[in-house]
């Protein structure tokens, strides 16, 4: 045993071993990337299944049909008249009148959000159907926004929700309260409502709720503007900041739609999913992009931060299913949720869906991003060890003949002076407050200009730092290494933490920053300039500009969305970009230039 230990210890000093980390780190990046590409294969993905026994999706007979369709058409035509009017309170008045007529308690809540110099105000109206068999300790929510996701009036959605309210009211089997929420739009309304429901709202902008029920157990949102018959049902499940609802909810709704009603369910806009590798990978990628952007993707998204599982249902295409079938899907889903004995907890909260009934769980996909993060930690350790070693060339220059063998040189460690590197890293991270502050406190018109100015400054920052500021302090080679080591250590740490909260965002940032590990390792002049160019291409601002140009987005719109997302939804993607990615990039650039 002691022999073995001694061998291991001497191996530690072996110069060959000490050259290994960059290759190891590159291998980590490579394996991490390939890992993700392997996920769609049958060997790694699993078929979805229902974990929670109480749900029993599709096991009840649904009765929503027949004459209810006349009621629905009646509500729809009443709303059609009002929806064309300018004053949104008329619609709310009508909804309140209808709900009160059904004997449902109604509450209204107004709110105003100010984001990027624009006010977003509106009024939620909601009704609580008290459970005949419950004690108002638990509730399930049905959301029908007046304006659907694409900005049209949610004609069928609102009418269907009202019809369902009337229909549910007559049943005696509910053991949880049912809350019908009618927010004015799909972005702000539910957020204000959910915040106020949990008393987490800012009373300056959002009014409290006059009426409440018990703990929310689940929520469905209806996004159904087209009145024609539909062919398939899209289930939108991404929440704010990439949080996902319990997989059981997605599965139950999907099972009820396809198993009971014969409606094809699909996800991520992949209507014609053939189950091929390519389609699966596209679905995963679309899901990851949505997750990494972290904004709200429907009225359901705002529920997720409060640990309320929610999905938005969106009928799609032309087919033979009518709104009554949609109503039965919701009835079936509510019956399942009604059966729950405790909060959904059995199934996965972290998953990547690749088609409606196939997924990979966290244990299978997490290693890919953890390997990416590990690459930074390995390089940080490598640079730390390097910084402690006496430079053999420097020794020769100083006239000292390295008399001992290579193994003994490696054993000598010099003292590390940490003050300057720590200061640089701290200053770079502190500077990231500037873009965050500017981008969240500028009006929408000025945002593109502000961003352009920030982009120019961020490109100039490393040059200023390395040619104007740092020479004053005369950093040694060791201090540059230490600075880079600390920065990579922080990056690795931040990414592995982020991976547990928002896998996709961590992965995207990990891929974009992976080259930071390898630049600046060589002092070769052309190589240095090549890496400086590569880094400039991978700068946060450059990447954002090129993505915007590539996808054909409007820069102003994107920035306004980011500012809006931070103010309204608490979306932290901009924080990650500016406090994790940008400082890491800046310090790498400085280390290349110095």
């Amino acid at each position: 045993m002691s022999r073995l230990l001694a061998t291991a210890l001497s191996l530690r000093r072996d110069p060959r071993v000490q050259k290994l980390p960059p290759y190891l780190s590159f291998l980590c990046v490579l394996v991490g990337l390939v890992w993700l590409l392997l996920l769609p294969l049958d060997d790694y993905a699993r078929k979805t299944y229902i974990s929670e026994n109480a749900l029993l999706p599709g096991q009840v007979h649904t009765y929503f049909s027949g004459s209810e369709s006349h009621v629905l058409r009646a509500y729809r035509s009443e709303l059609d008249v009002l929806a064309s009017e300018e004053d949104p309170t008329r619609v709310n008045d009508k909804i309140e009148e209808i709900l009160k007529g059904l004997g449902v308690k109604v509450g209204r809540q107004s709110y105003t959000y100010n984001a990027a110099g624009r006010a977003h105000s509106g009024e939620n109206v909601y009704g609580i159907l008290q459970a005949p068999r419950g004690d108002a300790t638990e509730a399930i929510v049905l959301v029908a926004a007046i304006r659907s996701l694409n900005g049209q009036v949610n004609r069928n959605g609102v009418a269907l929700a009202l019809t369902l309210a009337r229909y549910f009211k007559r049943w005696s089997l509910w053991s949880k309260d049912i809350i019908m929420v009618f927010p004015p739009d799909s972005e702000t309304g539910t957020q204000a409502w959910v915040d106020a429901y949990h008393d987490a709202h800012d009373p300056r902008y959002v009014a409290p709720l006059p009426l409440k029920s018990g703990a929310l157990q689940g929520a469905l949102a209806l996004d159904y503007p087209e009145v024609d018959r539909f062919s398939a049902l899209q289930i939108i499940y991404d929440g704010v900041n990439g949080q996902l609802p319990n997989l059981d909810l997605v599965n139950s709704v999907g099972n009820i739609a396809s198993g009971q009603m014969g409606i094809t369910g699909f996800i991520q806009g992949m209507r014609h999913h053939k189950g091929t590798y390519k389609h699966r990978l596209t679905t995963i990628f679309r899901g990851m992009v949505k997750q990494s952007l972290g904004n709200s993707w429907g009225p359901h998204s705002s529920f997720m931060p409060y640990h309320v599982d929610a999905v938005t249902l969106q009928p799609y295409g032309k087919g033979f299913h009518d709104e009554m079938a949609m109503g039965r899907v919701i009835e079936g889903s509510f019956r399942s949720l009604n059966n729950l004995l405790e909060h959904l907890h059995q199934s996965f909260f972290f998953y990547l869906l690749m088609q409606r009934d196939r997924f990979v769980s966290i244990g299978t996909y997490l290693p890919s991003v953890m390997l990416l993060a590990a690459n930074f930690s390995i390089m940080a350790i490598y640079l730390w060890v390097q910084s402690g070693q006496v430079d053999a060339d420097a020794q020769k220059k100083a006239g000292k003949q390295p008399k001992a063998s290579a193994t003994e040189i490696a054993a000598v460690t010099v003292e590390r002076s940490l003050v300057l590197p720590v200061a640089i890293v701290a200053v770079c991270h502190a500077l990231s407050a500037v873009p965050l502050y500017v981008l969240n406190n500028t009006t929408a018109q000025l945002l593109p200009t502000a961003f352009a100015a920030l982009a120019a400054m961020s490109t100039a920052a490393p040059f200023v730092l390395s040619y104007a500021v740092l020479p004053v302090y005369k950093p040694t080679q060791q201090q540059i290494l230490l600075m880079k080591s600390l920065s990579l250590l922080l990056l690795g740490m931040a990414l592995s933490t982020l991976a547990t909260l928002n896998f996709s965002l961590a992965f995207v940032i990990g891929v974009l920053t992976a080259p930071l590990s390898f630049v600046g390792l060589s002092r070769n002049e052309p190589l240095r300039w090549a890496s400086a160019t590569l880094l400039t291409l991978l700068a946060p601002a450059t990447v954002i500009y090129s993505v915007v140009a590539g996808v054909g987005l409007d820069m102003g719109h994107l920035l306004e969305q980011a500012s809006f997302g931070w103010t309204v939804w608490g979306m932290y993607t901009p924080i990650v970009v500016w406090t994790i990615w940008w400082p890491a990039w800046t310090i790498s650039m400085v280390s290349v230039l110095c």
């Binding site: 210890l9 640990h307 909260f349 930690s377 350790i381 250590l489 740490m493 592995s496 547990t500 909260l501």
Partner: protein, 425 residues
């Protein structure tokens, strides 16, 4: 000249640290409350929120322990009831906590300036020229994010830390009486500092001899233990009078620490273990855990008799791992005293690994706690796993510092082994 430099540097550091804290208190008024409710900072026996609850009951002439949430020493209540209401005028509480932090720093400054870390009565380190400057030590303590967080979180461990540091400083100063009084205060507030009594007496004894006051060791020890007992008795007597002349507070303060009745999660190792345990084994394991915690005192004091200060530092590290209710305030005290041993840092083998592990844990801990409590997508095991990592990081530091000091001593005995590879068996 260097004298004035040090003075100016000292004033600068104190002013900077105080201003930084004040700025955080004033500029982010919601930050202190946020930190106060974090389990990493506030434990059942140190939480500021619980102190408020106790204070409210106390001010309304109800026994503060009736609410069942307040588990802190009763004498804190009159102190805090002197301050204006924290919700109306939080600045006074903030100033008190800043002052206590600066006082702790002053004690640490004296400990560092005395050079006890490199040269004790029985041992002089061959590396003493590499001694850390006292300014650096104090700056490391005051600007440590953990110290700042525990000051902002207004945990009452800050008072214990201050008293403990003054006990050590006074022992080095050669005034054992003051040291024992300070240690009694620390023990009265948190109980566990009582375990520091043996090394503190040794430290004080060494400095008695250095001052030329010869005295037999047993008499000196007995005298000091007597001082501690008398002071503790007085403090407890005052508490008895304060808590409507009942001894109930003993069970509610020290009893909670001894029996771990409040199983709120914290960064330590006890809570999860005792949640999982069957009740029939509870008392046995309580005894084992306490025995384990106190068993280090004798062993370390005897083994490293030559350097009582390092024993105290190591014990502080051990307490912050194995205490029933540890928080980052305890870790900040350990990390604050660690730079005193900067001269042996080159002998430490895992400093980078330990620092990285601690840093990883500080990032992942709050994230996993969020996943468990708020997002609901994780569970208690997530957070517990991270507290294990956190403890691992600290125990790496403790064991590595032990190794480094022992090696430092050993190299005096075996000069031919300097710079050679050794194995710890």
């Amino acid at each position: 000249m260097p004298e004035t430099m040090t003075l100016r540097g000292k004033a600068g550091i104190y002013a900077g640290a105080a201003l930084l804290r004040l700025l955080l208190f004033v500029a982010f008024p919601s930050l202190p409350d946020l930190l106060t409710s974090r389990v990493e900072i506030s434990t059942p026996v140190t939480s500021f929120k619980r102190l408020q609850e106790g204070l409210f009951l106390y001010n309304h002439n109800v026994s503060p322990y009736d609410g069942g949430v307040f588990h802190q020493a009763p004498l804190l209540l009159p102190l805090f009831s002197l301050l204006p209401d924290v919700r109306a005028l939080p600045i006074f509480t903030a100033l008190l906590y800043i002052l206590v932090d600066i006082l702790s720093a002053e004690a640490l400054m004296r400990i560092a300036a005395s050079g006890e870390a490199v040269q004790s009565r029985l041992f002089t380190s061959p590396r003493r020229i590499r001694q850390a400057s006292s300014l650096v030590v104090v700056a490391c303590y005051l600007f440590n994010p953990l110290s700042i967080a525990s000051c902002l979180g207004r945990t009452t461990s800050v008072f214990t830390n201050c008293a403990t540091l003054w006990a050590v400083a006074k022992a080095i100063d050669g005034s054992p009486f003051n040291a024992m009084v300070a240690l009694s205060f620390a023990s009265y507030l948190s109980m566990y500092p009582l375990l520091l009594l043996p090394p503190t007496i040794l430290l004080a004894y060494d400095h008695q001899l250095l001052k030329g006051r010869t005295q037999a060791a047993p008499t000196f020890a007995v005298k000091n233990v007597a001082i501690v007992l008398v002071v503790l008795g007085m403090l407890l007597g005052m508490s008895w009078a304060l808590d409507s002349q009942s001894w109930e507070f003993l069970g509610r303060t020290y009893g909670i620490q001894l029996t771990l009745n409040d199983l709120n999660p914290n960064v330590g190792l006890w809570w999860y273990f005792f949640i999982e345990m069957f009740d029939s084994f509870r008392s046995f394991f309580l005894a084992v855990f306490w025995l384990h915690l106190s068993s280090y005192v004798g062993g370390l004091s005897i083994r490293i008799r030559t350097q009582p200060l390092v024993v105290i530092v190591l014990l502080l590290g051990i307490f912050s791992i194995f205490k029933p209710y540890p928080s980052i305030a305890d870790t900040s005290l350990f990390l604050g005293t660690l730079p005193l041993y900067r001269h042996v840092f080159p002998l430490m083998r895992y400093s980078f690994v330990a620092a990285a592990v601690l840093a990883y844990a500080t990032f992942l801990g709050p994230a996993f706690f969020h996943l468990w409590i708020y997002a609901g997508s994780g569970n208690a095991n997530f957070f517990y796993a991270i507290t294990l990592v956190w403890s691992l990081g600290q125990s790496l530091l403790v064991s590595d510092l032990t190794f480094a000091t022992l090696r430092d001593e050993w190299e005096v005995e075996r000069p031919e082994m300097v710079g050679k590879e050794v194995k710890q068996i």
